[in-house]
Symmetry: C2
Subunit: 224 residues, 2 copies
Amino acid sequence: MPERIPVVEKILSANDRLADENRACIDAAGVFSINIMASPGAGKTSLIEQTVRAFSSQYRIGMINGDILTSLDADRAAAAGAVAVQINTGGNCHLDAVMLQSALDQIGLESLDLLIVENVGNLICPAEFRLGTHKNVIVASIPEGDDKPHKYPSMYRGADVLVLNKIDLLPYVTFRMDFFRQGVAVLNPGVTQFDLSCRTGEGLQAWYDWLASNLSDRKVIFQT
Amino acid sequence: MPERIPVVEKILSANDRLADENRACIDAAGVFSINIMASPGAGKTSLIEQTVRAFSSQYRIGMINGDILTSLDADRAAAAGAVAVQINTGGNCHLDAVMLQSALDQIGLESLDLLIVENVGNLICPAEFRLGTHKNVIVASIPEGDDKPHKYPSMYRGADVLVLNKIDLLPYVTFRMDFFRQGVAVLNPGVTQFDLSCRTGEGLQAWYDWLASNLSDRKVIFQT
């Protein structure tokens, strides 16, 4: 069906325009923003919970969660101390810029320092849709296997930060770290990498330091 | 963009027609066929490897693997003793009936007893596209978390069999079995369930028994 290609291109470029508008709003509010992507169960929500707990006394955090149906993840982020807005995609397999735009209208960007977007759990489709956030963070996890960068190149290629979660499970599964790193190095040699466990807390500090440094680099217009 | 909906409906019903054609071909060859779906890293390929090893002395097995880019999984199935055909979806996030049709042309159904289709690693999109296989098998895994049936209902609703893999990791992660089972019971109370570990071998026999029983129920037209 080659006649579908122009339609898809049109949708993607419309998405890019909206992503630019989202970025302009986020920048105008002096907010630092990240888009967290991963396959289901890699630990996006656990990373967000830990991060919100660690940062909520110092920074005002908003969390926009994309999920097919439930608000389970947004509830967890809200319980940890974030202002949370839920986007139910109604079966859609990714967030796009127009969905984020409507959530931005609700969340009150002017009262935030940090905006965390949790994308739909999917290692393929979210990579195609820019949202307008500053950094793309991909969460990988030890039990999902060492072949993932090789098999899902688009997602790994587009990441600014790669968090490798669940390192506490390394003794119990087969995971060839060399093979994993090799895949990452080919696709995205400059990606910032953190190995950590949201469960035990190991390695989280380096991730916090990266986030804190980006937050302090932002020109925050509205102070509490 | 509401004008897109009729197009999507047309594609889905065209897919259903092709799925019926696929089923007719598979039935005519006396082959039993399964479509294995899961999120990335749940253990589809490991389950297939173990199954091929266990069955290849008795049955002729074909494996059709859907992947975005590599042939890593098909290579593993071939090494275990299956006739393997790779479908590179070129970025597409699921298999559909037309992709399966072209792979069926290549694999030589007449020389097979069992056809295993490994879908693209994705817990959302593959559920929308019938392929024409006899049974849908979903592989869940302990480390991906107990909330997955609640969050990815379409996939769980459409499954005939639910394999819960990596039960050897239960002591090392937080997984509320009750909460998981609750989600499954609401969506798909009649689903056949197997708890197992492809790594340790625990629980695999019950899965083999189910498969063997389905294979012996088939009217095999071509015998070796």
